[in-house]
Symmetry: C2
Subunit: 409 residues, 2 copies
Amino acid sequence: MFKITHKSTDCQARAGIIHTDHGDIETPIFMPVGTQATVKSLDSNDLENLNAQIILANTYHLHLRPGEDLIAEQGGLHKFMNWNRPILTDSGGFQVFSLQHVNTSPQQQSEIRNQKSEINNEHSHLVKIDNDGVEFKSYIDGSTHRFTPESAIEIQHKLGADIIMAFDECTPDDKDEKYVREAMERTHSWAERCLKYHKSQKSKVKSQKLFGIIQGANYENLRKESAKFISSLDFDGIAIGGESVGFNMEATKQILDWVIPIIPENKPHYTMGVGHSPLDLFEIVERGVDMFDCVSPTRMARNGTLFVHPKISKKHRIDITKANFKNDPNPIDSECTCPVCLPDIAGRMETGKNYSRTYIHHLFKAQELLAYRLATIHNIHFFLDLMKQIRLSIAEDRFIEFKKKWFTT
Amino acid sequence: MFKITHKSTDCQARAGIIHTDHGDIETPIFMPVGTQATVKSLDSNDLENLNAQIILANTYHLHLRPGEDLIAEQGGLHKFMNWNRPILTDSGGFQVFSLQHVNTSPQQQSEIRNQKSEINNEHSHLVKIDNDGVEFKSYIDGSTHRFTPESAIEIQHKLGADIIMAFDECTPDDKDEKYVREAMERTHSWAERCLKYHKSQKSKVKSQKLFGIIQGANYENLRKESAKFISSLDFDGIAIGGESVGFNMEATKQILDWVIPIIPENKPHYTMGVGHSPLDLFEIVERGVDMFDCVSPTRMARNGTLFVHPKISKKHRIDITKANFKNDPNPIDSECTCPVCLPDIAGRMETGKNYSRTYIHHLFKAQELLAYRLATIHNIHFFLDLMKQIRLSIAEDRFIEFKKKWFTT
């Protein structure tokens, strides 16, 4: 399913192609997140126009609403959301377990929530875990649900994404080594059960690739052990999960340095929840990661934080709601080629060439729905276009040079 | 500026063309409302794709935020909102005066607000009126503002719409004849001042058409007197305003029957705030109205009320949030040709041909931003497409027959 087309000579960055029944995905790739079967504020046509090659949807959320059976009845997730390109579903593990950690401070919980997921934390004491699976209550109506490795795969079979994930326990960083080892061993046992169940159903379900997930929090020995174990199984790809991943980039880089040498080179490498900034993208690609997803570009867009090229701001972002953009006729980013910053091909606007910062500032101040849409289009385009340039730089073996250009201006 | 191309032989319906600097408008026409320089949830490209020929923006709202001076600095409303087709701005009269009427019951106020405008009624006692103009407080920050006929035109000159409106006093239906006469006479005096000021500025501002507004509430004598007076002035078009207009269709039809015979045939006839349902469109077109606007199709969309053809429902609408749409793979309206109901031209979706009722129901339940966008696209398309068919029926002199087909199935 995966073919490496280019390898960098001065770092671990590589470019490749993942084949799926809904088309090819060029890697390294950023995957926009469509939590509830929609990338917030965009329709599937918008995503096609932005050249999104694959999007992510959340098993946890879709199980709770509208339910996998209803989506299956409607012909699966692709048809349900009118999107005919590849989809990846997570297993629900991250969402279920981020509800559980009552030892985490409210501030940390809030940060995790804001950074990594879109869950309602009210029922954080309502999760019960055992070696067979996990019981939790719906944040929507308080009803009780149970995920096991088998049910998590079954749900994902019904949703019908091209790439599905093993059910894992995502352990928080503040747990001691003993707990993290227990959780990791549970994750390993669940990984075997997921694979076994997935294979047993292969004749009944259409082609879906199953990825395993490495856990072990921030313990070097556990991460390496987990990388070895998950790599030894017959997964189509290998993911690196955990609370720190994406959220704490220093820890993320450390974890990657531990595990990447262990993971088979010829399988896609996926870091779950990474992509809070342009720098994050470069850092993980440099370490040999092929796939990543993050809600940040879309969530930040809805808060008015818009990504820009280094020439515009060394921080690579502006807050369009600030007063200095009230009277600024420029586009968000004069280096950007997105439909918000540039006129369309027909050049229809003789009086104006783009949506100005002034207009977008106004839309945010007036809390107009269009603000969220234009900002999301810009940020998604920004990430996808940067990834396209990163892929080109790998193909031409000048990735490190390209990275330097971005961060030393 | 206005040319009648077809007249019905069995009613007053007529078709025509209004010429503006930003293109021609085919009448009769429904004008989507972009209160704060955006038709809520849509961008200008969406509106072009929906074949919107003209949109409306609100002087009152744009004066308060971001201010006409800022919009003028940015090159005017067309450039500000990236829309190069015709725009009409109201004068702010309706919004200012619907804040004033403390004698109106809260329930009535609420209904007026819901039906006709998008204003915040908190400061309803903060409006002071005299023969020179009106003072009011901003619903955003409580600051004091004053509109006079001259300033309302000046603001509209700065905004730069193709069609602008005289400043009028919109009297509520519960006022006695004495008050309504006083208000009407004030409106007449203001109409003359608007025209005078507009003409005095003609050398400085670009070509803008100025329409006068007939008032007189539900008094036959006053409505006829107002129709005669406003028709006697050198306006480019004649509007019929008032609290009842659009909100109470029986009163609206009565008022039209009084005033249409008085208004010059060769000027566009505009009813302000009409278009709550398909029936409303037919009723006013039948009485010789050429232009109308209403927030209902867009506001109802955001509440999940979607218009459908008679074959689908005799009520011409469905509430997509109802449980019976939870598992319904059909499009909103199988007779509809909007981008939500039909696949795009490229037919890109082999697995799905449209967004299903199931999916849109899910988006509303999950309070996803895409719900409002898809619903708005559908409702706007529905109204604009119906108007296109109405124009065709007039051109072929079968309007009454077409109306019957819609309402006797």
